[in-house]
Symmetry: C2
Amino acid sequence: MSAKRLTDLSQLCIHTITTKPWNIETAAKEFSAAGVKGITVWRDALEGRDVKKTGQLLRDEGLNTVSLCRGGFFPAKEKTKRDKAIDDNKRAIDTAAALGTQMVVLVCGAEPLQSLEDSRKQIQDGIEMIIPHATGAGIKLTIEPLHPMYADTRSAINTLAQANDMAEKINSPYVGIAVDVYHLWWDPSLEQEIKRCGKNGNLSAFHICDWSVPTIDLLLDRGLMGEGCIPVNKIRSWVEAAGFTGFYEVEIFSNKYWQTDQSQFLKKIIKAYQENS
Amino acid sequence: MSAKRLTDLSQLCIHTITTKPWNIETAAKEFSAAGVKGITVWRDALEGRDVKKTGQLLRDEGLNTVSLCRGGFFPAKEKTKRDKAIDDNKRAIDTAAALGTQMVVLVCGAEPLQSLEDSRKQIQDGIEMIIPHATGAGIKLTIEPLHPMYADTRSAINTLAQANDMAEKINSPYVGIAVDVYHLWWDPSLEQEIKRCGKNGNLSAFHICDWSVPTIDLLLDRGLMGEGCIPVNKIRSWVEAAGFTGFYEVEIFSNKYWQTDQSQFLKKIIKAYQENS
């Protein structure tokens, strides 16, 4: 099974962190000039800015603000810390609303000082506590299952099956799931879980990049689509078969690429999007 | 659920690679003097040695040679390479027999230039091709599922469920499974898959160490039990409940510890074994 070649950029979204050396104003201008149609904004990119004005600037550049990254990080041993996380997530929802996007991506968190079971329970509790706020603001909370190598501190949700279980239990139109090929490509049940995710109306976002061979850093060595071993096109075909029609979001953390000329990198992203996604 | 404290060293086995700066003769002497009862031998530790004599040396030190690490690495795009892997696995079986152990651990391999499905099929084919040789030598082939972060080049078998599926399909008394806490701790279905593994008679080995927080290297930054976030004691209780009565094998790759005095490190291993395993 393979997905149709992407001949235009109408579904291409790029995360601000992908071109981290650019500030959001430069990224917006450059993305727009290159024909990119979507942007996902990381919260650090908004620091020191008027969020509403920045949202307007993105719209003026013809960009669709696909989502805000990131809320989450719910688990903690102390209740005061968990309460702080709830407050922070409400702020993320408010920021998203001011920015003019309808989605906040959740990196759910994990607390190495307690069991994964406890962290998972606190994640579900945390999401349920912020749903009223998200509902009021019209923002979808998107659970992103993370690769098992991040189970120590970043997320206790490490497979799409777990994310599906949780989203189905919570059962709210304001909760969805992000499928990121980097985190999930290795999973033998991925195709079937993507089907299930789409069938239940929970497939809200699709993130792409590649797994470098070899990978030399646990966090900051992602590759461009086609540079590694992830079958991005095959996974896209599953996502499309599951009914997904949203943006394909390029999310790459790469010390290597951040050290290069970002205009050249943007050209490479577009080429990789059209030829290897 | 928690497992009984380990008050003696009767089930403690250490991998030669754990104390890599020591040659096998020094390791055997030091392990034995410290009261360790088992050793798992990595093939590199046997280089330039008479394997039978080395096996005798280990027995003379009162050590049980638990297994030989490692065979596997079956997948490849070219048939000639796959044939070479078969030959190498047969040699590993012969080495194990000469050494006087009854188990070869398989790091099954993965080929980033082809799909995981293809690699998985080649793994199963490869194991089936060497079973007659293993049977003749009385050697058990032990499939070790590896952490998903090694799915690019080291193993396409990344969960205990997959290893269980494969061992059950192959259905040979000469095929078993190694449960390594480092690779499997994050899996929400771990307890249930350990039960299944024991019930079907496939639970052949148990490897312990810890996941350092943070982990700074994908391969060589494992921690001592108790230093990280893996619930080693809880997982041991599951393994014991599943009927496992073999050795608890300490397998640590650590640039940090390899740079320290290995006698001191051995003391730390024994302390961590008794206090945090």
